[in-house]
């Protein structure tokens, strides 16, 4: 394990991240792709997993596997402890209470749960829902679905020239439409823009809205405290933060969860069941019908341990430094356009296009060099339409990336340009 120095209490300087040491903890990063060291620049899609997380997942099945709750045997108790322990760990990570943490199958399911479990029951026909133009489809499509069914209106906050939220338009839309829900991303998965959610949430809540934050890109990369964030709901996925697939988190303010209806009925979410009707368990169990992702939760605890040992302030500082370097280097490449704001307003995500080279071809040439990036619309078609593009190439960074990785990206881009742009 990489063991960075812990900062002394109250230290303003986060501990330095050592990507080369960290890479040794990740078995997959020992791979070579087409004869080169794998440079993984696709963590915004999913992060890689350290051995500690993989071992925790397998360890659960090897030693403790049983179903949770109600079982009165040693394994069932261990499994329950692993599952509820993960909930407590997640709550502590976010500065939340344990009963404010609902486990879902991912951020997408968490956002759907808020749309259907809360908004559908509390909005009236004609009410407005405010989203933004930079939302991932998972924080847009559920709102479209629920709006169509409930007769609500959907409004979108436009963007500034450099890919940030238009604050004036946000204020105007709040006043003009008095939305009951404001759903926005904490960090764009394409532009990299970090939205000032704490300020926006205060403004939205003052205007009477419930605030739903998509934290899929922010919680893995930035220190996030739900108290200072001020949102009613926050959704994210374990697999983007060193954890396993199949596990997501919905944080919900206690009073909001209390007034939310379950989406799925079944075992574990009830208080009392009769043949014709049932009453619900209290949150969070009310929203966790069926056997939950127990092994995944156990592994997620290991992921949170790993991140906390590094310190989220250090993670954020590392990525800020890296994205600044990448941003400056990429802008030197002839014919290359970077989308989104300058490094002072963005996290570790950079989307770009290279003149004369389709993003798919770019990704393919880079793969030939062992560099993994993503190409496509990144589940943000309205944003790409706004940019006048069908696809972009995207590089995204995490704790195991360093300047060498950025340099490998640059070398691959140069090769792609020579090969395909014919210059």
């Amino acid at each position: 394990m990489a063991t960075p120095v812990r900062p002394t209490a109250g230290s303003p300087v986060p501990p330095a991240i050592d990507p080369v040491a960290i890479r040794r903890d990740f078995p997959i990063l020992q791979r070579e792709i087409h004869g080169r060291r794998l440079v993984y620049l696709d963590s915004a899609a999913t992060s890689q997993k350290p051995a500690a997380v993989i071992d925790a997942l397998a360890g659960f099945y090897r030693h403790s596997n049983a179903n949770v709750h109600r079982g009165i045997h040693t394994l069932a108790e261990e499994a329950t402890e692993a599952y509820e322990g993960a909930r407590a760990r997640t709550a502590a990570f976010l500065g939340a209470q344990e009963d404010e943490i609902v486990f879902t199958r991912g951020a997408t399911e968490a956002l759907n749960l808020v749309a259907w479990g809360w908004a559908f029951h509390h909005l009236r026909p004609g009410d407005a829902i405010l989203v933004t133009l930079m939302e991932h489809h998972s924080n847009l499509v559920p709102w479209q679905q629920v709006a169509a069914r409930g007769g609500f209106h959907l409004k979108a906050v436009p963007l500034t020239e450099d890919g940030r939220l238009d604050r004036e338009a946000f204020t105007r839309l709040l006043e003009a439409h008095r939305p009951r829900v404001v759903a926005l991303t904490h960090m764009s998965n394409v532009l990299g823009t970090i939205n000032p959610v704490a300020e926006l949430a205060r403004q939205a809540r003052d205007a009477g809205a419930v605030v739903v934050v998509d934290g899929a890109q922010s919680v893995p990369h930035l220190p996030v405290d739900v108290g200072s964030l001020g949102a009613d709901f926050l959704a994210f996925s374990a697999h983007k933060m060193l954890g396993p697939t199949g596990l997501g988190v919905l944080y919900g303010r206690r009073e909001r969860l209390a007034e939310m209806e379950p989406l799925l009925g079944g075992g574990g979410m009830i208080r009392q069941v009769e043949v014709e009707r049932s009453t619900w368990a209290d949150p969070p169990q009310r929203f966790e019908a069926g056997t939950p992702p127990i092994a995944e939760a156990a592994a997620f605890t290991a992921a949170l341990d790993y991140l906390e040992r590094l310190g989220m302030a250090g993670v954020a500082a590392h990525e800020r430094e890296l994205v600044r370097y990448a941003w400056e280097r990429l802008r030197e490449v002839p014919g290359l356009t970077v989308y989104g704001p300058g490094p002072e307003h963005r996290g570790g995500v950079i989307a770009f296009t290279l003149e004369g080279v389709h993003p798919h071809d770019l990704a393919q040439v880079l793969d030939g060099d062992g560099v993994a990036i993503r190409a496509g619309h990144h589940c943000t078609q309205p944003l790409h339409r706004h940019l006048g593009l069908v696809a972009t190439a995207r590089a995204s960074f995490y704790i195991y990336n360093d300047r060498d990785d950025v340099d490998r990206l640059l070398q691959g881009l140069e090769r792609a340009r020579r090969l395909l742009a014919g210059s």
Binding site: H34, D361, Q364, V365, D367, V390, A391, L420
Partner: protein, 132 residues
Amino acid sequence: MGSDFYRENILDHYRNPRNRGHLDDAQIRHEDLNPLCGDQIRFEVRLDERGRVEAAAFDGRGCAISQASASMLTEAVQGKSLDEIKAMDKDDVLALLGIPLSPVRLKCALLALKVLQAGIYRYEAQQAGGEA
């Protein structure tokens, strides 16, 4: 699929596409896109009196694989009957490209053939409707 992915013949068709443009007197015209990446292909075919391809043209935008395979296809279908084109499948396209493809890139490669075959089916349906 490393550096040799973009073989000389693929790059050649991408940079210097054959039969790119429009046919004024085409009987078959069809256009479609791959929603995943936005690759777009329009295919046009003029038939001779025996119902065989006399001229084929394409237009579109997208990645090297989708555009090169469209270009290659305009040459490969010369003189073929519509039934022969309908019988073509992914192996025929892969043979033209001369490389193996991952499932994702296969969609890029097959777009042109898909568009052409859909155009043929539409043309035949129109013909059948006209005669009925």
